[in-house]
Symmetry: C2
Subunit: 220 residues, 2 copies
């Protein structure tokens, strides 16, 4: 969302720090889906005031990670198989559109960013930073579409999907070898500007992990 572009190296506001912490806690499942989020409890946990917590929670509403009910506080967005499937469907539709637009507007400069991002993702070993690199690769792929809203939706949906991945496996490494190959397929197709192939590879990538996750999540 629109707080993300704060690359300022100095001290961020308490609200922003709180926003990032809470976001991470929800994505990783440290704050379980559907859980009541009590201001006082979070305030202590993060050692900050009530105002930053409230404001951070209000902002997380944008990302559909938190639900707000008037006069009844906040809760972590609930998770369900139906919700996961909806996310998957929307991702496929919107990322297909974004990727095709990106490719239409392809330049060698974008191509280079893409190759670089892919390279960085491949070389990472640490699981924690892999997630960042992986998102960066996917967003670079879509980032040439010159459609800020579309990109925002895709980024949002990406994060929501990550949440389900964590929910399913606790971050288990589910055959990264296949996934590396799939990434190369997408990259190659994008670089040679073959929109149909790139889109097919991307969507297949999502649907494969989607099918895997669906089996894991049957207990929702």
């Amino acid at each position: 969302m629109n707080m993300m572009d704060n690359t300022n190296g100095g001290e961020a506001s308490a609200t922003r720090a709180t926003y990032l912490s809470l976001r991470d806690m929800i994505l990783t499942g440290e704050l379980p889906a559907g859980e009541k989020l009590k201001i006082e409890q979070l305030r202590r946990m993060l050692d900050t005031g009530a105002s930053p917590v409230r404001e951070a929670l209000s902002l997380l509403t944008s990302d559909m990670l938190v639900e707000r009910i008037d006069q009844r506080g906040f809760r972590a967005a609930p998770a369900s198989l139906a919700n996961f499937e909806e996310i998957l469907m929307l991702r496929c539709t919107l990322e297909d559109m974004a990727l095709r637009q990106s490719i239409v507007r392809a330049t060698s400069e974008w191509e280079e960013r893409l190759v670089l991002s892919h390279h960085r993702m491949k070389r990472v070993v640490d699981t924690a930073t892999f997630e960042d690199a992986h998102k960066d690769f996917h967003m670079t792929l879509l980032g040439n579409a010159a459609s800020p809203m579309l990109e925002r939706y895709c980024s949002q949906l990406y994060d929501l999907n990550i949440r389900y991945r964590n929910l399913a496996a606790g971050g288990a490494n589910y055959q990264r070898r296949d996934i590396a190959f799939e990434h190369e397929e997408i990259l190659d197709a994008a670089v040679r500007r073959d929109a149909n192939a790139a889109s097919a590879a991307l969507l297949s990538h999502y649907r494969l992990t989607g099918a895997y996750l669906t089996t894991q999540l049957s207990g929702l």
Copy 2:
């Protein structure tokens, strides 16, 4: 004692009342696109505290009606022709999907809600309540898709579009006769469960007004 002097007759919280007011002020253009939104100024204007204003603004971020820059406050989302065209594109894609899903899941109960909503929209004369009825009709159309996120996106995009319509004409009545016919076309196709015809009619409806608005908005 504080709630006694609350001029709104309803039961909602100050934050919610503020949210609704600000939302309306942005959609109607009373708060112009791109305008700096100063807490103190709004606080006085709406006769409430700073906390409800901040929280309402944070919530409006979800709707892409307000932008927040850390430590630099809030501003009404800027408007541009490119942004309008992006909204139009996303609407066409997402509403097409939602409408088709709605029709797949069609029931006589939905059919009845649709006819009723259409009837109410037709009979309204007052411009202000027409807007509500119009949105209700469009959302009923999509509301049978059983996709909460998709519906949320569509509702968001609908509002953003309204904003541009107000921006373009100050609410001028641009040939309502044609529009009434277009609505009947959509309704008829939906009721006879012809997804292709319904979608075509809906998208044509959007693209026609889109083209009209684009000419009006050339000064952005």
